[in-house]
Structure formats: C-alpha cells, structure tokens
Symmetry: C2
Subunit: 410 residues, 2 copies
Amino acid sequence: MEHLIGNAAVGQSGGPTAAINASLAGVLRGVRAHAETIPKIYGMKNGIEGLLSDRLADLTSLSRDEERLSLLETTPASALGSCRTRLPDPDKDDGTLARTVEICRRYGIRYFFYIGGNDSMDTVAKLSAYAEAVGYEMRVFGVPKTIDNDLALTDHTPGYGSAAKYGANTMAELVRDCAVYTVPAVTVVEIMGRDAGWLTASAGLGRFIGAGAPDAVYLPERPFSLAAFDRDLKAAFDRHPNVVIAVSEGIRYEDGRYVCEGLHSDTKDRFGHVILTGAAAALKEHIREVFSCKARAVELSTVQRCAAHLASLTDLCEASEIAAFAVARAVEGESGRTAIFRRLSDDPYRIAMESAPAAEIANKVRRVPDEYITPEGNYVTKAFAAYLLPLIRGETSPVYENGVVKHFEL
Amino acid sequence: MEHLIGNAAVGQSGGPTAAINASLAGVLRGVRAHAETIPKIYGMKNGIEGLLSDRLADLTSLSRDEERLSLLETTPASALGSCRTRLPDPDKDDGTLARTVEICRRYGIRYFFYIGGNDSMDTVAKLSAYAEAVGYEMRVFGVPKTIDNDLALTDHTPGYGSAAKYGANTMAELVRDCAVYTVPAVTVVEIMGRDAGWLTASAGLGRFIGAGAPDAVYLPERPFSLAAFDRDLKAAFDRHPNVVIAVSEGIRYEDGRYVCEGLHSDTKDRFGHVILTGAAAALKEHIREVFSCKARAVELSTVQRCAAHLASLTDLCEASEIAAFAVARAVEGESGRTAIFRRLSDDPYRIAMESAPAAEIANKVRRVPDEYITPEGNYVTKAFAAYLLPLIRGETSPVYENGVVKHFEL
C-alpha cells in the first residue's frame, strides 16, 4: 500500500433519503480518523455539479464536531444538496472530465467520496478510470445510498431501512385508519420504486410480526393482471369490508404498459397532454367501476424518503459505518470501488463490509428475487420478512424543539 | 345534584384521529374513578350504528387495566370502530330514537359518552333531549375530537394537536427534501380541511420557530386567486429555486368553485366521468404551464390523521383529561352538553375545561379567524403560531416491537 497524503472531497447525489446525511457524517468521521493522511475535507455543493462550478465548502471543522455530526445524522435529505448530473463517457467528453480533475488538483483533492445510487457509481467508475489514465493519483470511492435498495452486489443500501421502516409503520397506521367503518371500501397505497419493489415489499412486513398489514402487495417484478387483482379483492372482501392494497408506482401489465398510464391513456388535459395519474389513482377508478364501492388512493409520495423522525437506528448506524469504511479502504489504496454489505446471518443479524468495483454496480438494477414474492405474485414471503426485519430495527432519538424536529444547517 | 347509579356506554364517531383512543382511555379512566356510581361500561362498536344492532363490548375490565389503557392511548384510529350514522330529527323519526333508548334501558345504561365532531354533537343533543322527553333518565355527554379543529365554542379539539404536529414536522422534512436540487421546481402539498384551514395552517408554523416551512400557505377561509398565486410563486423564485406551497384541499375561487375541480373540469375518463383531481394536482398542472418548470403534488392524505407515532403529548394528555372531565360532569348531573377547552394564556400555556350545550356545537363550523391569516391571505401569522405552539408540544413514547409501533387490539 502506498501512502497518499491529500485532501478529500465528498458529494451527495441522486434522490434524498433519511440516511444520506448519516453517510456524510460517516465520511467525515472516517476522515477525522485519518487526519494525518487527509488534512482537509471539502463538501461539494450539489455533487459533481457544484465541484464543476467551484462550489466547495470546507467541512474539516464540522468533521471534528461530534455534536453537530449527530444532528447532521438525524437530518433528512442531502445537507450538501444533490444533482442528477453524470460525468460523460471518455469518448464523448467535452472537457468535463479534465475539468473535474483540474479542480481536484487545485484543491489538493486526492480522495473523492461520492454518496449515491447506481448513477452515482457510474461517476465513481468514470472518474477513477480517467484520473488514472491521465496520471493524477486520486482515490475515488462510492458510498451506497438509495431508498430503492436496488444496487447490485450489496445485501442492502443505506436509506432503505429507514424508508422501509416508514413503510411498515405507516401501513400499520393506515390499516387501522381504514378499518373503522363497516361500509365496503378499498384503499390503494402507492409506494415508490419504479423498477424494483423493495420498498413496496416493506408494506407487507406487518403480516409476519403481528402488526397491521395490507391484504395484498404488488411489486413491479411481476406483471400486473387486473383479473387476478379483482380475484384478490373479492377474496379480501370475504374476510372484511375494509380492504387495503399496496402497489408499487412501477407496476405494469403483461404487455409492458405502466398501470399508471394504462387505464386513462386517452385522458388528456385541456392542452392535449396525457394526464399521468399514479398507479393507485388508476386502480381506484377501476375498483369503483367493478366493485361499485368506495375507493381511495393514497400516495406515500416523497414523504416516505425524508421521514427522518421515523428513521431506523440500524440504518443510520450502518450508513455512517460503511461510509467510514469507504474512507479507510481509500486510504488503504483502493479506487474505483464501492463499499457494500454482505450478510452473514439474519438472526442474529450479522453483516460484513466489503468493496466491489463501482463499474459492476453502475447503471444496474437489483430486483426483488423470486423467493421473496409469493407464487401468486400478490404478497411478500416470510423469507423477505426475515431479510427486512434487522434493517428496520431500533429507533433514533431526534431532537425536538417546540414540538418540531430540529435539523442541521450547513 | 341527584345521584344516578347506572352503567355507561361509550362510542367513537366520525373520522379517526391519532388521539381518539386517548379520549376513549380518558372516558374509561373517568368511569374507573366513579366506579361506585358506574359499575359497568360498554363500548359501542361502530358508534350508534353498533348500539342499534346490539354490538356492545364490556370494557369494564379494560378500564381497570392501566397498562392496556396506555397502549390504547398511543394507538391511532377508533379502537371501537366508527360510523357516520346520525340520529334522526324527532319529527322524522322512524323509531330509531325509541330503539336507542330501549337498548340503553336493557343494558342499564344511564351514562352515554359520544366522542366525535360536530355531527356527533348533534347525536348527543338529540339523544339527551329525547331521553328527557320520554322520561328515561340518562346523561348524554359529548367528548370533542376532530383533526379539523373546527368545533364551535372550544379553544381547540383533541386530535388537532397531533395532526398539526405531523403537519409542521412533515413540512420541515419535505422542505429539506425539495431543497436538494438547483433546478427550479414547485412542490404543492395538499392538506386536509375542506371548510376550515386549521390543519393546513400548521404547515406554516416552522417559519416562526426556525424550522423548515413552505413559501406560501393558502386556507379555504380566503378565496383563491390564480393571479395572486402566480405573483407569490414569482416572489418565491426570486429567493430560491425550490418552492414549496401548502394548500388546503378545500380552497376555492372567488366564484365558489373548488380549485380541485376548476382546472380540469373538461377532463373525463374513458367512461365519461369527470376526473376529480385534488387541489394540489390541479395547481401542479397550472404551474407547469405558466412557469414551465418541474412541479409536483404531494397529498398528506389520511396518513396525517393516523400518524400516532408522531402524536403530540399535550394532545394525548388533554384528550384523556377532557374525556375524564366529561364523565365527572355527567356524574354531577349534566346532560346534553359537550366538554370544551377555554384558553387562559398562551405562554405559559394554561387551559380550563368547561362544558357547553351540545346543540350549540352541533353542525357548526368554526373557521380560522382573520387575525391568524396575513392580509395577503398567503400565510399564517405570528398570533397563529402562538396559538398552535402549546398544542403540539411534547413527544409520546410509542412502544416499538421489531421496529414497528405496537397497537392496541380490543
């Protein structure tokens, strides 16, 4: 291992989560632990977009202030801001890659940590390869985060546990809310996840632990059939008048059309644009028609990814730990890699941290495997509950002032 | 005061809240405190609807089990179930009133507690008057609850503080979530309250206590103007690219049309039904058109009324206390009345419990007064913040099992 002394930069990218600031706190703690190697750490405002426009904040003193790091950790959404900007392919580059390295050189940045999902890992892979190609020694490392839990190679991603905890808890509350009347009614709850159903799957956890849970759960991993849906609803109505259904925003019919565009594809606004209703809103109309009963659509919307007041303690701790682990691995000499979790056992829950090539994670989607979905495709399995349970365990202690949770300000 | 010995019945009516079970716990505690007067208490399943169909649960042993009452208190939605059934006017009665009294007589019920909003207070007034008219001595008492906070005569209603705490906290989280990108975008958050804007008003609290808050807040108490809305948005864009707006589901134009039906009144589904989008969804389309920017609609939906994990401690305590107060007043001889709060001071927060005729509360709506809304009609005032703050103070300690909040089961 060669010892490389230099500053660090850290950025947050992609959609915000309740744990992405815990990842940032973890990078800062990791840097603090290697202060002799990394004298300074800069935060890129709005990720690579901010680096390219010279918007860097010196976070060195923050990295040494554990009290502020604690507050940062329980604050939702990216404290540094985020972006959706991606680095170009080397053969299509307009100078962006060179400019990125030039700015890093100017700030003496030799360690580059990027917190994000599969798009962000693409940035890690490209920047690491480019820096090496042009002979600028810099260790570029990916720190995983996404509520979607769809990163390849890792057991799970920071951010998912908190969003899933929100999903399981909110379903338990909604199921009670829906159960109060005797009139037949269906509530369709729409949960984020266009390509992978991990988060929607969390809605079904309650069934396995004696908590409130929906009657059926539909993931994008299986084609959605209205006929099967109607049968599931009929079976649910045989049990009770208040039916609750969880669906992923990304469910599609056998022919590939999204449910959210399927029922009203001929519905246009007064300017001729097709109105994209959500999957739940579309199914609500279908239910009213077929069952002539009350139907309601509930979208958990972006609230589900920023509900830090209900974060999973396991998730926040792991987010910080794997970020600090990424720093340690970079200091040891690795580059172009992403920190990942490997599960050793469910119960007792044991996990190992490792790293994998960022290029093998970039732009890939890890979907919910077959053994986590019932053969009928309308619920999750006990094996999934065993997988999920340890990730949502533990409650955090957010600081409230005047009844409102206190957040970190940069 | 005449001493009336007899059993009690308690029912929950109208929309569920996070505090309505604390009210139930309070009634049970009140009955326990008067065990020599009230030997037994029955819970009506689904309110008056259950009483009329003989679905009564003996809650006497529950009333003596403080541990279970505590769990009941932090469980959202009506544990006894609810209904929207109203008692008929005496001159249009088909025998329902007589049947109600007959069932009460059969169970030896001399105390009747009804937890609910303005519809439920109508039931209290009618039943009390009818029982008196037919010479059946029964004390009928209203226990206030509604997230809408729109009951006449009372300073506030149990259930509101918790829903408002959810509103203020969720806005703080959403504002952070929305702030991460640099691209201009508007998020419109729709909050419950068709006729009164109390709950939507809670979204603006953050501005007065240094927490995240939206750029503008529109209540149904003021006519909504698209021109003024566009001006407010332009002013907000001058400050930052990420604009967040809170609107009540019930906002209407000057001509009385709801915003939720105004923009797309010519939009029909494939069966020819007009699609009723929410107010936020309608404004989202308007914003995309006028500002050509990203716009998103977020509905807090029914989650905002059942988020017991984020309940206000003040709200839950008061809900229980005013319910026990109602029992005490009934035992003292009052009937046909509703327990109410009178505020003595904001800071320190001091409150008195009193009672008022249920008939004066029934079917009335108390709206947000002028001094709580800015002259421009696009925000709440400091006076409103002073009013709201004490109601959302204090956090509860829900019991979590396996990362999911534990709920009471009857």
